[in-house]
């Protein structure tokens, strides 16, 4: 019998460090929980120069997205509002799960909303 990683890992973690997030894509609006994954970032601007800053991101549980009627086709260009800021999904990466990728997480790669 395989372990239920959602019950044993993801749900407790999201319960502790997850934050409320409003997900909007066209007519679709939903309230979900995400983990703020904004990270410091350093980008090369040439052979000798680096520019520091931050790269915004957020983790979400795919089962929670599905339960809210959010399909994978809705992810790109969706607007996420959490921790007082609005972001647009510019890309994403599936994080997988021992129970299958649809039972795992997605990491949304975000950009600032104009």
């Amino acid at each position: 019998m395989s372990l239920d990683y959602a019950a044993l890992l993801y749900d407790p973690v999201y319960g502790e460090i997850g934050v409320p997030c409003e997900f909007a894509a066209g007519e679709l609006e939903a309230s979900i929980t995400v983990i703020d994954d904004t990270r410091p970032k350093q980008l090369p601007a040439g052979p000798y120069v680096d520019v520091r800053g931050m790269g915004p991101g957020a983790f979400a549980r795919i089962p929670e997205l599905v339960a809210n009627g959010i399909a994978r086709a809705d992810w790109q260009d969706a607007v996420l509002t959490f921790n007082g800021k609005d972001w647009v999904v510019r890309s994403y990466e599936l994080r997988g799960s021992p129970n299958g990728e649809d039972q795992g997480e997605v990491r949304f790669l975000l950009k600032a909303l104009e």
């Binding site: 040439g46 120069v49 520019v51 950009k111």
Partner: protein, 144 residues
């Protein structure tokens, strides 16, 4: 004392600072924080162009060529056209600057050597434009 190299680099920073819409210009700061759009002027390599052929005296004047680099960094939703605009403005300002042209002298010249770009993501689409110029000018060791 007349150090043409330093005079050119100092003036180059002043000229870059006049590029429209830049909010910061630094010289030789290779670890730049998130203050954009910005320009970073890097002192360039210098090579003797003519006059170093072994004839005496050793302190004779020579013609040297310096190649400073200018990095323009920005993040925006239109990063490509933004960098193109910076490139156009900077090229015109540097090549036409009267002080820089005077510093290079009648035997020297200012040349645009080209540019290199790099892109990535921060809060917005990040881009860097590295522009290279050549400054050929007389170096007179006795004047240093």
């Amino acid at each position: 004392m007349t150090d043409v190299r330093e005079a050119i680099l100092a003036r180059l920073v002043e000229v870059v600072a006049t590029v429209p819409n830049l909010i910061a210009v630094q010289r030789n700061n290779t670890d730049w924080p998130d203050i954009l759009p910005a320009a970073l002027v890097l002192d360039g390599d210098e090579e003797v162009s003519t006059g170093n052929d072994g004839s005496r005296p050793s302190n004779r004047p020579m013609l040297v060529e310096m190649t400073p680099e200018i990095e323009i960094v920005e993040q925006s939703d239109a990063i490509g056209s933004d960098l193109t605009t910076f490139r156009r403005d900077l090229m015109k300002l540097v090549l036409a600057d009267a002080t820089l042209n005077t510093l290079t002298g009648s035997n020297g010249k200012i040349s645009y050597l080209g540019c290199v770009t790099a892109f990535g993501w921060k809060e917005k689409n990040f881009g860097a434009l590295q522009m290279r110029f050549s400054f050929k000018y007389p170096l007179k060791p006795d004047d240093l």
